[in-house]
């Protein structure tokens, strides 16, 4: 696991948890450990977290990003309207990541990714994505944001 630093000196705050009626906590907990090691301030909401609780926690902690995990296939239902809830709460531009086994069954990843990006997520990570990849992308996206961009360009 890398220990890349968040790009600016103030540690960024990230809210993370497993959305919906899902209890698959292991990957999310390991992601939390890796994010903390990479000097992020991690607010971990754990398993079985409704969308509203992510947003509430993001407001309370003035978070810079929300990282949603889902492994049980129903993420597609649980994540609908997530960006709208953020906008209603005044978190229009908060960085939104989602990752895991996001849909029921084996579907082509580009289709699944597009579905989640269309929902307003900034990044979607496929099954089996490693924490190193997530942390590297986070660093690039926060660097891009410091330049006034929405996220890093590929």
């Amino acid at each position: 696991m890398t220990t890349e630093r968040a790009p600016d000196s103030r540690p960024k705050t990230l809210v993370t948890g497993v959305i919906g009626a899902d209890t698959h906590i292991v990957g999310n907990r390991i992601l939390g450990m890796a994010l903390a090691k990479a000097r992020y301030k991690v607010i971990n909401l754990g398993a079985l977290t409704p969308a509203e609780e992510f947003i509430k926690a993001a407001i309370e902690t003035a978070a810079d990003g929300i990282m949603v995990s889902s492994l049980y296939g129903q993420g597609e239902l649980d994540c609908r309207g997530f960006r709208d809830l953020c906008i209603e709460a005044g978190l229009d531009d908060i960085l939104l990541y989602v990752g895991g086994n996001l849909v029921v069954g084996k579907q082509p990843w580009p289709d699944v990714e597009k579905r989640f990006l269309d929902m307003g997520f900034d990044r979607a990570f496929p099954p089996g994505a490693r924490t190193d990849a997530v942390i590297e992308t986070l660093a690039r996206d926060f660097a891009a944001r410091a330049q006034g961009l929405r996220r890093a360009v590929e």
């Binding site: 919906g20 209890t23 390991i30 079985l48 049980y72 129903q74 029921v104 069954g105």
Partner: protein, 499 residues
Amino acid sequence: MAQALPHRERALPLKATQIPEDVFHVMRRENLARWPTGAEVDLDEAAAYHLSLPENKRLGTIMRKAAAEGRCLSQPRGGFATLEMQRELMQVLDREGLADVVPTTTDSYTRNEQWHNAQKGIDESTRAGRSLLNGYPMVNYGVKATRTLVEAIDKPAIVLSGTAMPRLTSEVGYAAGYSGYLGSAIAYTVSYTKDVTIEEGIRNYQYLDRLVTLYQQRGVELHRRQPGFLTGTNIPPCIAIMTCVLDVLLAVEQGVKNYGLELGQTLHLIQDAAAIRACEELCQEYLRRVGHNDIFTPITSLHWMGAWPQDEAQAGALISYGGTLAAIGGAVSVTTKSTHEAIGIPTPQANAEGLRMTRMAIYLARNIRLDAMDEFRREKELIGREVRPVIDKVLEMGDGDVAVGTVRAFEAGIMDIPWSPNRQVKSRVLPARDADGYLRIFDPASMPIPEDVLEFHEERLRLRAEREGKAYDHELAVTSVYEICEPLSHLAPFPWPKD
């Protein structure tokens, strides 16, 4: 969401003893009123329906027969959002997969008693023509509709519903003609919930086990099963078996006689075989101590429950080897996965293939046993030395009441579960894989496992750290979580790595 316990019930102190008939009558009435399909449950009619089923559709009987004949039965998991999709799935598993036991997995909204959300999932899935739920919403469909599923197959059907709140799903499932139900107080509360207390989980499963004895009084022997796989993430056999012993002790107090125990495979042939044997022996040992000599406790072995490799060929090896492990270990049944496991829920065809791969492996492994091996004996004996001090302490903490002892033991961390999502579980115990592929305990936290046993675990884990040139720290536990899903280029590269 999780229902609060009805007021009357909350007023009663938690006890392991059987729920009195008059109290249970009231509990059932309140439970069945929580969703319209509850009104379809008629116990006498349901018992008569079970008695009308041929023997090959009764899981209680089939498990006893398989155990007596030394067979290893195969059973997959599977559930889709609509009745039609579910029927097709079950028929494919029965006919193309040759499943000995046909499953119905419920969706996660149903498991969490969010029946309104489940209804939306049914509607959206019907519109989309594909399942947006990860299982079958059994309560929404109810008894009459669900019975058509039992009638569509020629094997016994089992409900798989990973939940600490089984009260209504079990009423509907058993009344629909399902003859098995997977789930238990400790295992599912610590693995599938965040805020449900151990006490609530125990009360909810006391309800289910008490329900089973009502069928028993009407001449129907239903199968109950304990999901000892827990969080599915590197659970050392001893921790799984501790929950098996406590859960079976809780179940028999309600009157259950036919109670299976599940163990997730460690993927080490000798450790798995030792675990299967030790589990049955330790359950029977503790049952005898409380005067039960007639409880049937068959063991089910489960294909790897941790993270799976994306490569379907690697997954295929886990599936076939899983059949071998179950058969050589002497398990009465094996629960299978498919080559799609890393991606999510398999198609019916991929699921059926997983069954046939497993079945072939079982066929090849017939009559092989490891009992004469010293290493097998060492591991089996080791498990006993890990399990007994913890169980004895739990029983002592409850002043003889296993329900009370269990609640207190989790509060104190005497019982602990790795990687648990439940806030009542300390989840400080950390397992890791040793140099030879055995699952060991890196950090026991507050579990009272004897010093000499822990020294052995540490020695084996230090050997791995040394061989890999790594520090002896908790990273051993984290890398063990990922190990099995790593690509072959990492696990077994060419050219061979230098020592």
